[in-house]
Symmetry: C2
Subunit: 204 residues, 2 copies
């Protein structure tokens, strides 16, 4: 299999963590495919017309995206240990994955907006992004005791990647203040070998 | 169950279609919950800190989001007829759902960008959105014969909703030109009772 990949995409990181957790890393060839909102990479169109990472291509040429579909596919190949089987537990894990993914969507838009020249920024959007970040962090803090229960799944991977992305791209935001239980859970998350091995890389 | 709802959200429309297709409409109470990028609705925070629609709340208070998780949950409640069981067919349907959802994400951002005052717009983004729309339409045109095969699933629902959203919010874009097979598939999609019943509504 071929994975269109970049070392700084948080959605790619989810897949990299799953590859290590499932033991499937050796089955995938990584192809460095740069993408940027303002510079669509035309090489990616044939495999994914949304021109987004991650995009997986199976050996018979079938494309698989987005990160959620790729993670579920890989987990299924390896026996399905990263998603609970019991329906209610599964629903919680799926909702957590959507929360982590949605948090990342907010952070990516927030970063793009605040990196614009001031005269192009929309103040109401910046305020809305900041409000959503606080709301998500407060929700996750309330959920931290449940997150800290035994188990590791696609929901926790997504939430952990979003918090690590905050550290990476928003080092000015002290999200741990007022969110001590969440910070403790995230510190444990960052100790996992799959998470250590998928740190963002500044190599150009 | 309670569904935070708006009559013009294309992601809500996916859920409304699934409710009709599964016969579960009577099980859900619709709660009109306006959201806008620049006016976060604080009433929604307790159920979904991302402040996004659709958000479903189960009778015991458990929140379920995003649209993909809600649709899978409802389909599962009703016996799972909207997702193929055979693994390869399921993977295709999941990739199509991600394509439709990603297409909608592009269209929502595109609309927000072009509705801004010109001096706040970023030309490279508008160009990138237009390029992605063309790339997605070309991919879907190539896939139209497969879409037209028997079967109706969450992938087709998502793609159909995205094309209907183009008609609704981008009436100036003649997407049918050069995409005749896709246009024919979409015309049939729009005949389905579940799709007819979930038309966007301009009621304030």
């Amino acid at each position: 299999m071929k994975l269109h990949w970049s070392p700084r995409s948080p959605f790619v990181r989810k897949v990299m963590i799953v590859l290590v957790e499932t033991g499937l890393s050796d089955r995938v060839t990584l192809v460095r495919t740069p993408v940027a909102m303002d510079k669509p990479n035309l090489d990616l169109v044939a495999d994914n017309p949304l021109i987004k990472l991650p995009t997986l291509v199976l050996d018979d040429g079938v494309p698989v995206y987005d990160s959620r579909v790729i993670c579920a596919y890989l987990d299924c190949l390896a026996g399905g240990r990263l998603m609970p089987e019991e329906p209610r537990a599964r629903l919680v894990a799926e909702r957590r994955q959507a929360l982590g993914d949605g948090f990342l969507d907010v952070l990516l838009l927030y970063r793009q907006e605040r990196n614009k020249p001031v005269e192009k920024q929309t103040a109401a959007w910046l305020d809305a992004f900041a409000l959503k970040v606080r709301a998500v962090l407060d929700t996750l803090e309330a959920e931290a005791p449940a997150l800290a229960e035994p188990g590791f799944d696609l929901g926790r991977i997504s939430i952990g990647c979003a918090l690590s992305y905050m550290d990476y791209r928003f080092p000015d935001v002290d999200w741990r203040s007022g969110h001590a239980a969440l910070a403790a859970w995230h510190a444990a998350f960052e100790q996992r070998p799959s998470v250590v091995r998928s740190q963002p890389d500044e190599t150009p």
